[in-house]
């Protein structure tokens, strides 16, 4: 059972923001992953796998945002549509607080 399974009933969920969640740090292999078309150090991130799986299971999901709490300098953001990752990038200040 994965985070995606738990969120699947939320059929209107379009944005998911996760901060410091050790639960999702375990790579979710429920969905086969395609060959990474981007630099391996980014696409190999467990966050990418989790986000992609979420996109498959929660069809309404458009944004998965990993906030900066995973590490002081690490912020990842994934934008997707029905199970397909469109872009993946890092935004250093996306999770910053004053």
């Amino acid at each position: 059972m994965t985070l995606a399974d738990g969120l699947a009933p939320l059929v209107r969920l379009r944005e998911l923001r996760l901060q410091d969640l050790t639960y999702i740090a375990v790579p979710d292999d429920a969905v086969p992953q395609p060959a990474p078309p981007a630099p391996a150090d980014v696409w190999a991130s467990p966050f990418y796998n989790v986000a992609r799986t979420l996109g498959v299971r929660v069809h309404s999901l458009r944004h998965v945002v990993f906030l900066g709490g995973y590490a002081c300098e690490e912020v990842c953001r994934v934008e997707m549509r029905v199970g397909e990752v469109i872009t993946f990038w890092q935004a250093p200040d996306a999770g910053a607080e004053g």
Binding site: L13, T22, A71
Partner: protein, 351 residues
């Protein structure tokens, strides 16, 4: 001179809607700035928000005269300075159009704050008595807003109330004062209580569970659309009074996990998942669309299942997992060191 020239050039764009003024300790710079503002502001027809973010004691009177006479369309005023308390009568001369005021401290209160608070409270009283009935938005330091002067006055136009800063220092009737105040806000749509960390771990509740005397009027918080509270307490009776139509609920950390903390600040233990579920379960919010919530590690699947059951129409969900001390900042050395082995693990895996 360069700053003045830049400001003068910038203000030639008349489309500005918001003007933020940050103070300088140099009086000549303040006076030059005031001179430029006096020429430019009357032409800024779209200006509706004026924000003062620091003390501008040297030109405060001139600034106020300018606001009062030159910006009849001013709708929002944000003061992040205690300087105005020296002349509270200025607040009585605000343009009649303004509907919002935000007041707070840009920095932590000084040790002698207990003394100065009395003067600020007196000035704030005057201001609220004169303008309260037509205010649509109000942002105040919680340590002042808890006081009894907020009771007994109608707030028919108030749509957004934000209490920020430090927990109330006078305790006692603070909660009942706030509840009475909220009972006089029939148009209230957004309530935010965003308290800063403190050196004393004072528990804070919006609605004291031991308060058996305060009664809520019919329609209490009925129109509330957004409720945001830092460091929620399970015992808080406010969770029994949130309206079914609530759209946004934020129960985040105190202090927030990504804020730097000093070793002197006390961070109360985060709320465990099971307890958070019980807290949320006190309210029936079937229409909730946005939920931001922080819980203590370890995060578990049962929590997600519980959220999905309670809020089937959720569109935005933010989950934060907290430890007692995620990051500790040594204020003397300005160094950051992770104190959680889990955080370090996540950092490596994310790369």
């Amino acid at each position: 001179v360069c700053a003045s020239a830049l400001l003068s050039w910038t203000l030639t764009d008349r489309r500005y809607s918001t003007l933020v003024l940050v103070g300088s300790p140099a009086l000549e710079i303040q006076e030059a700035t005031l001179s430029i503002l006096a020429q430019a502001i009357p032409h800024l027809s779209g200006l509706h928000t004026f924000r003062v973010q620091d003390s501008l004691v040297g030109i405060w009177q001139g600034l106020w005269d300018l606001l009062s006479t030159s910006i009849p369309h001013l709708a929002r005023l944000e003061l992040h300075s205690a300087a105005w308390t020296a002349c509270p009568q200025m607040l009585c001369a605000l343009p009649s159009s303004f509907a919002s005021v935000s007041y707070g401290h840009a920095r932590a209160p000084p040790p002698e704050y207990q003394e100065s608070m009395l003067a600020e409270t007196r000035a704030l009283n005057t201001f609220l008595l004169i303008h309260g009935a037509r205010l649509a938005r109000l942002a105040l330091p919680a340590e002042l807003a808890m006081l009894a002067f907020l009771r007994g006055q109608p707030w028919p136009a108030l749509r957004a109330l934000s209490l920020h800063g430090y927990p109330p220092v006078r305790g006692g009737a603070a909660s009942s004062d706030l509840v009475a105040f909220l009972g006089a806000t029939p148009a209230l749509r957004a309530l935010r209580v965003d308290l800063a960390r403190t050196k004393t771990a004072l528990p804070f509740v919006v609605f004291d569970p031991l308060d058996n005397e305060t009664t809520v009027p019919p329609g209490f918080l009925a129109g509330l659309h957004t409720f945001s509270l830092t460091r929620p307490e399970r015992a808080d009776r406010i969770f029994h009074h949130l309206p079914r139509a609530l759209h946004t609920l934020e129960l985040l950390a105190y202090p927030r996990p990504t804020r730097f903390r000093t070793s002197e600040d006390i961070a109360p233990p985060p709320v465990p998942c099971a307890e958070m579920l019980r807290m949320l379960g006190a309210s029936a919010l079937p229409d909730l669309r946005v939920l931001r919530v922080a819980v203590a590690a370890p995060f578990d699947r049962a929590f997600v299942d519980g959220l999905a059951d309670m809020y089937p129409l959720l569109e935005v969900l933010e989950l934060q997992e907290l430890r007692q001390q995620d990051v500790v900042v040594d204020a003397r050395e300005h160094t950051v060191r992770p104190s959680s082995s889990t955080s370090r693990t996540c950092s490596r895996r994310a790369r």
